[in-house]
Amino acid sequence: MEQIIANGLYLGAQYALIALGLTLIFSLMNVLNFAHGQMYVFGGFVTYTVVVQLGLPFIVGLFASAVVLAVMGAAIEKFLFAPVVRRSKRDESTMLLAAGVAFFLDAVILLFFGEKQRGVPKIVNGVFNWDMRIIMPYDRILIGVLAILLIVVFIAFMNYSKTGRAMRALAQDKMAAQLMGVNVARYSMIGFALGAMLAGLVGGLLVTITGVNLGMGGPTSIKAFLMIMIGGAGVISGAIAGGFILGMMESVGLTVLSAYGDITYLVIFASLMVFLAVRPQGLMGKPWG
């Protein structure tokens, strides 16, 4: 039982970090970023390139993937999303653009990094063993703690910095924020860059444990969508809650339901549909987001 909870917490911390980036982008621009999973994979590959091929320390790789993804996110927002949002008749048109970006990133990853599974050697060796009740490798613990630390930093940034306040104001009411002198174009760009950066950071963290490959992007996006649906789209606390809930459900489901075959995700999806029928806006979301 302790083992299941520990696994759930570890998974949840990563998931929450992925969902945070997605929900940030959604709350600022009303864009459902289909390319989020691909950004995550890209971040993983950047870390892999820096650590394994250039032989630099892991922390440099993590930093590099954060910077690369932040720049990429800012560019994508400024040159692709902002013009389309301005000129399109319907908000949803950005979905085609987001899907196009997702395909494009897939293509770039395929050309630059190939289709092979890539991983980074363990950064810490050894296994934590508490009386055979919880068994967990140290590197997983380290990554879990780092993820939680990043979440804390992110919340603090959103709550106490000027940029964070501006972005929260934008998410609440675009028009009012603009009237109060918030530079919408600039903070939308920063927000997108920040969201992409978070995806890159998670990719960089997880490449040490699970590795990354080309095919991971799409499924990761779907999982991130699930999390922000559970918690409520566009709400930061909701994304964190959604991440931990999904991590827990996966961990418990894989243990409890393993006797019935591979139906964990079927059960999760089905219960999510029932949950959303009762509470369409998720746990903490605004109605009609």
Partner: protein, 323 residues
């Protein structure tokens, strides 16, 4: 105006039924038959997605209904021995029935929430196909017999596909007929009272409800029609491929259905047809670019979106505006 429309329609029919087969016959690219059959069937599914866009919902779940439709037809043909032509409407009706049950709760959602739930629906369909005993799991259902002959009062309307010398042309004709009928139906719906009501839903659901439009009924109806199209398309696909697997229609297919609608233009009935043709056929043609295929494809898609954010058919708008 009306004669102009009829003329355009006649030209279109001539093109798809006579010119395209002639062209393929002349160039010898017989594989285009298969590609164009896929385009026709995918555009039937996309027509359904377009209808849900028309009531203001983003539908990324058409793959689920295509999969269900394919399985219903395949199971009925292989296990119950029902003739294929009967299973085609049955598959559509089955999908429509499911979509009513699923749609009643989820159509209360809007915007991205609805989009994400329908996306999850595709995964649910795939996982169910893997888990249910009747679908034969990951092995899928294979060697489905080709459609037999369809006759009415002893008169053969469609000959058995197995007896045809070139079943590819048969499938192409069948798919195109299906596409033409679907779009006629869609066009009729849009230009009817129902279409006007749907438009009011797209613009402001509360407002139309306050005037006395039965919004709950309308959106379930539109969703059911949409799923009917999805089911038919899936059933046809299964019979052409003579097999169906849980991975026949996945999330990527659902997303593609939505992209076809976006690219063609959400404000135009024939938008999804054009979008399907451009995207699917373009992808096929780009296969000569080998490893750069995806790069060029997605690059063009992004460019199109930057230049024409309201769909390719919005080009027509500009012309009218200038004149």
């Amino acid at each position: 105006m009306n004669t102009k429309k009829l003329l355009g329609f006649a030209v279109f029919l001539l093109a798809v039924f006579v010119l395209v087969p002639l062209f393929i016959g002349a160039t010898g690219r017989v594989d285009f038959f298969y590609t164009l059959t896929s385009v026709a069937l995918l555009s039937v599914g996309a027509a359904g997605v377009w209808l849900t866009f028309y009531i203001g919902r983003i539908n990324i779940g058409q793959g689920a209904y295509a999969l269900v439709g394919g399985y219903v037809s395949a199971i009925l043909v292989t296990q119950a021995g029902v003739p294929f032509w009967l299973t085609l409407p049955l598959a559509g009706l089955f999908c429509a029935a499911i979509s009513v049950v699923i749609g009643l709760p989820i159509l209360r959602l809007r915007g991205v929430y609805f989009a994400m739930v329908t996306l999850v629906l595709t995964e649910v369909a795939r996982l169910s196909a893997l888990a249910l005993p009747v679908t034969n799991g990951a092995k899928g259902i294979t060697s489905i017999p080709l459609p037999g002959e369809l006759s009415l009062f002893g008169l053969t309307i469609i000959p058995a596909f197995g007896s045809l010398s070139n079943p590819r042309i048969g499938f192409y004709m069948m798919a195109v007929v299906l596409m033409v009928v679907t779009y006629l139906v869609l066009w009729r719906i849009v230009n009817s009272r129902l279409g006007h009501l749907c438009r009011s839903l797209q613009q402001n659901e509360e407002l139309s409800a306050s005037i006395g439009v039965n919004t709950a009924y309308l959106r379930v109806l539109a969703y059911a029609i949409s799923s009917f199209f999805g089911g038919i398309a899936g059933a046809m696909f299964a019979s052409i491929a003579q097999s169906i697997y849980p991975s026949s229609f996945v999330v990527a297919d659902s997303v593609n259905f939505m992209l076809y609608c976006f690219l063609g233009g959400l404000g135009y009935v024939f938008g999804p047809m054009l979008g399907t043709l451009l995207l699917y056929f373009g992808w096929d043609l780009l296969s000569i670019a080998k490893q750069y295929q995806l790069l060029i494809y997605s690059g063009v898609m992004i460019l199109l979106m930057l230049v024409l954010p309201n769909g390719v058919l919005s080009l027509l708008d500009k012309k009218e505006g200038r004149a």
